[in-house]
Symmetry: C2
Subunit: 153 residues, 2 copies
DNA sequence: TAAGATTGATAATTCAATCTTA
DNA sequence: TAAGATTGAATTATCAATCTTA
């Protein structure tokens, strides 16, 4: 057998690093999605949207803001909010100062649902995310990712 | 205005940390996808699949292995390989030792395509990923993500 | 003109069921 | 029985075009 296979551009370690980041994120999302679906009959995307709306001032935000935070297209968010409105967890409100803008606002039912689901999700985060690293590593990862999300446009 | 709004479970910093990780990954993927689509008429998922096959011994792997590495279902990979076979970049081969197993094998055309696209992708990785952190931070992020992907099932 | 939101057409994925081979 | 792969039905996203308001 060959001890020195031809080196290939495909084996660059920067590709490996990014690949590991992507794979870790996908596996965590798959794990968290399964938990939320089984215990709260809620998809991870719906959960994330409710959470982001619930963390906003006055528990509402514009469709555009939600699209930006979730890294979705405007069309994607229109349908996401359609679904959430269908469950009664979100309602659309007109922005009083700009009639082009629609707000996605959390309802009381939505707030209750997201608070319950979040308790479950925190247990998952502790078990599969936080417990895998030291506090120092968590600070580093969070800081780096904060820079990454701002550095790509 | 209130200086002490009621603390909410929604504001837990572990949720923020994971949210930043997810957002960074999605934004990078969106950026890299745009480049590959514009410069190589190739989707990021197709690129990733070709890359993973091309990095495997003998440039082939089973459908199951590919599904596991890409965090896709078996059905998802069946159709992904359908698409890649349609472009001529991949061909299906029977595994000689187990007739249940199909290999997805890179063709010569596929190898050429992925090597060209990878050169472009490396420039993107350097500009938006590697350059945003120190070598020490990159080691930490990669090491942590390597643990994360193994620690969630 | 541009920004925000929506819609129709299309693409890609999951889930559950099925088929083949071990 | 179980593992690997495929398929039909349903879901969810994108893209490009359109509509409304600034």
């Amino acid at each position: 057998m060959s001890r020195n296979p031809r080196p290939s551009i495909l084996d660059d370690e920067r590709i490996t690093s990014f690949g590991v980041l992507v794979e870790a994120t996908r596996r965590l999302e798959r794990t968290f999605a399964r938990t939320l679906r089984e215990e709260h009959a809620m998809s991870l995307i719906d959960f994330e949207a409710l959470l982001r709306i619930g963390r906003s001032p006055d528990r509402h935000m514009s469709m555009s803001q939600l699209a930006d935070q979730m890294v979705l297209t405007s069309g994607g968010v229109t349908r996401l909010v359609d679904r959430l409105a269908g469950t009664g967890f979100v309602e659309r409100l007109q922005c009083p100062s700009d009639r082009r803008v629609q707000w996605a606002a959390l309802t009381e039912a939505g707030l209750g649902a997201i608070e319950q689901a979040t308790a479950t999700h925190l247990a998952d985060l502790e078990a599969h995310f936080v417990s895998e690293m030291t506090p120092e590593e968590l600070r580093t990862v969070t800081g780096v990712c904060d820079r990454l999300r701002k550095g790509c446009g």
